[in-house]
Symmetry: D2
Subunit: 283 residues, 4 copies
Amino acid sequence: MSSHILTFQCPDRAGIQAAVATLLFNHKAFLIEVTSHSATNGRFFSRSVFAGDQGAILNIEAIRRDFAELASKFDMEWELVDTSRKVRTVIAVSKFGHCLNDLLHRWQLGVLPVDIRAVVSNHPDMRALTEWHGLPYVHIPVTKETKAEAETAMMRVIEDHDAELLVLARYMQVLSDDLARKMSGRCINIHHSFLPSFKGAKPYHQAHERGVKIIGATAHYVTSDLDEGPIIEQDIERIDHKASPDDMVDIGRDIEARVLARAVRWHAEHRVLQNAGRTVVFR
Amino acid sequence: MSSHILTFQCPDRAGIQAAVATLLFNHKAFLIEVTSHSATNGRFFSRSVFAGDQGAILNIEAIRRDFAELASKFDMEWELVDTSRKVRTVIAVSKFGHCLNDLLHRWQLGVLPVDIRAVVSNHPDMRALTEWHGLPYVHIPVTKETKAEAETAMMRVIEDHDAELLVLARYMQVLSDDLARKMSGRCINIHHSFLPSFKGAKPYHQAHERGVKIIGATAHYVTSDLDEGPIIEQDIERIDHKASPDDMVDIGRDIEARVLARAVRWHAEHRVLQNAGRTVVFR
Amino acid sequence: MSSHILTFQCPDRAGIQAAVATLLFNHKAFLIEVTSHSATNGRFFSRSVFAGDQGAILNIEAIRRDFAELASKFDMEWELVDTSRKVRTVIAVSKFGHCLNDLLHRWQLGVLPVDIRAVVSNHPDMRALTEWHGLPYVHIPVTKETKAEAETAMMRVIEDHDAELLVLARYMQVLSDDLARKMSGRCINIHHSFLPSFKGAKPYHQAHERGVKIIGATAHYVTSDLDEGPIIEQDIERIDHKASPDDMVDIGRDIEARVLARAVRWHAEHRVLQNAGRTVVFR
Amino acid sequence: MSSHILTFQCPDRAGIQAAVATLLFNHKAFLIEVTSHSATNGRFFSRSVFAGDQGAILNIEAIRRDFAELASKFDMEWELVDTSRKVRTVIAVSKFGHCLNDLLHRWQLGVLPVDIRAVVSNHPDMRALTEWHGLPYVHIPVTKETKAEAETAMMRVIEDHDAELLVLARYMQVLSDDLARKMSGRCINIHHSFLPSFKGAKPYHQAHERGVKIIGATAHYVTSDLDEGPIIEQDIERIDHKASPDDMVDIGRDIEARVLARAVRWHAEHRVLQNAGRTVVFR
């Protein structure tokens, strides 16, 4: 059955939900799922999934037109997408393949609703894994001198595939401000620590040094401020004094893979909206 | 600011949310929170919190009257309550006071929105704790011979206080079918195991015998079918081979207290709706 | 640096640890790790990792000879293995490849210390994945009529590879009592539920029907009593009323993969000892 | 049955465990529990619980004398205590009583093996709760001007009771360097955040601002470096976008209470040893 997802955010005021639900009802839509959130800063967020009521064929263009009018009245940012249209995605990776392997496996199983178009990497290591999954692997070596060209090359891959999402699956290069801005809200990074603890490099070594009893990973949107973008998901595992930094790296791999997979999935299902440096995640 | 909670469930169909949101908007209500759920068995569930828009005084009786009409059209079960009206509650306990202590402490802090009217018990042990909190303690001894009378006495306490909720906070007596039915949907029990594992008595000893690596507790509505009522909340802790049954009892105490507290709170905030032996919990 | 693992269990009494530590010290061994456990049923369990002190070359055969004598005195079951010798392993799978993919990926990363020799399956589906990892795939179809032959064929694969461990990575066939006995203590199964809840088939559907708020998976040694063998590891995820049985299957995949990987790893590191239907796991 | 706990740490080398186990065996001790840890920085840590073998009465003074000699040879820091001797404890609290209530309840249940001698506070609020538990409450108001005197008064309470442990159960005053040094290794604080994130004041507001998806609490030994002492225990809860700072405070209360209770218990059971700004916790 064909269905659509409508997401929006706007200043909170009375009548929004009545107006939206009534509009959809008048177009013979049946609401499969509705979630909303009134944030403490006065913004209202909503996500609806709908289909034609009792088999009715919806006139999506008419809904879109009418909704645009309503959106303008309520000052909404909004998006209306067909659930069968998967988000075109490029994955970037360096040498560590655990997140990539996990994403590709879920994608192959059909449980990660993205359309993976290519994998880019500054190293050749993940070529075999990627090509075995039938995907193109673009090796773009990066040196201090070629960083700008390398980014241009990466941006070309994104543009060639008209990619809507860039996933940094342990891509060990900091994006330039320019690329971060271009991909704003459409680039997800996995940071191998429980942010805001242990920003930057070698977080598990920092964590070992501090003697923490829990380690974690954080998936966040990339902004030009490194490791400071809006957090989408975090998870943790308990450790004890026996854990060496290497053990933490090992335990961390699992946390990173599952946190990134959840973040990518929620983004792809249009469950994540941004609010002033934070996220609303309609799970 | 005065606010109200509206909960309902009904057969799922198009137009419900439009109708409800429009009704509330027309009465000048501002929606603070709306959550809903379309269950796979074709039932629709919803919970809204609303207040007067921009300081408007709501005519709750008019809303109630209009909503009754709409409810009848959509075949709804519904409830409309003032958030400032706390659920009148009686707690039953036996000898183990950890759940009682936890509930009383939260109540005293003001974070458990119930109006505790009395504590009943088949043992005298918890009198001092209860009375120190300024609450009446009703000691109703139970023997095999006096079980029926004891239940009658307990029911009288419930009726005297016009209690809407009975919380079995480690009350080690099985309710009769009759009492279970009378209190249907308004009696919460904490079972000291991760149901449906280890029903019945001494679950931690059963768990130890089986060698499980995780133990848990379950808060559920009481039905005449012992330990089979709709589950409201569950939680767990990891254990290992070092845990004796006594250690499990000790660890279990914490799990039981927090699981029961959550279940009582969610019930008191009208977040729990029942669906065919299961619960919908709007957290 | 070469190191060895010594595990044993015996009736608990004074002097065991003094005798064992002294024996190893006299042979110039340096203890890298020692863990032990006195069970409530009067059994004592121990695991030591040791190497030559300050670069000394250990005479392992002499240690083995002397330990055999000590073991006989204390009535020990024991094992002394070289940490560099990986456990020869055969994996059995049916159609669901998430656990297999996870095990192969960890093995390839070098973080799962087993020597995988072959994958057997009653279905052809996982051939490409297996062979891409450079491992032989043995397709042994099973029908009601050919079950006995199929088991013989599977046993032959195990014997041909001199496999010490059989991992049932979502192998959807019940082993015969005979095979279960032959592989006693060397066959690990992943059950897709939080045992002892929901034994048998379709556990997630059972879990949905019961309305549980937490689902889990259990890795256990296989015995002739289905789903009743000693539990090695369990883990869980929280769910809510929105989770359909299919969502649970999806969430369950991750839990199963990580629970099985941990159990296989701990077994391969000789961290798991059995005690009367339960396990001691020296993590 | 009378039993003793022996803990020690020393430079790691061969023969330590043989020597210690043999010494205890020669004194007719039966080892109930032994755990040890070889840290990556070359230190060895151990904790043993022992009793007289088969009812033998141990000559603890002789053991102590012989162990002192051995300790000197291996350059050990060590402690030998009777398990029946509970750690004399003073608790400090300000206005928030959830941690205090939790500690007192566990102490009353007999599951927190400390000997609470007094509660000190810079506010009068927790007097009734404390005195109801039969404990003295010492109100020591603190102003900017009287901080030094107040600390002297607090130190006098500690000395009067010969207290070995000071628990800061949400005591909202920073200890002076001097007091921190005096109580080094014997003062446990609960910080209401997942350190090292969100040090200092109002951590839940900081956490809300940053949009984290998990909040936590940390129990640590107090050092003169605020919020930087060795971590004993941490725990967390998941939150989502719906959580306001007040909700986080509310959820945080439970985490704080259970994290602090665990840390105090482990300390009181002599399970916590310090290693270069970190802890070894023999759970």
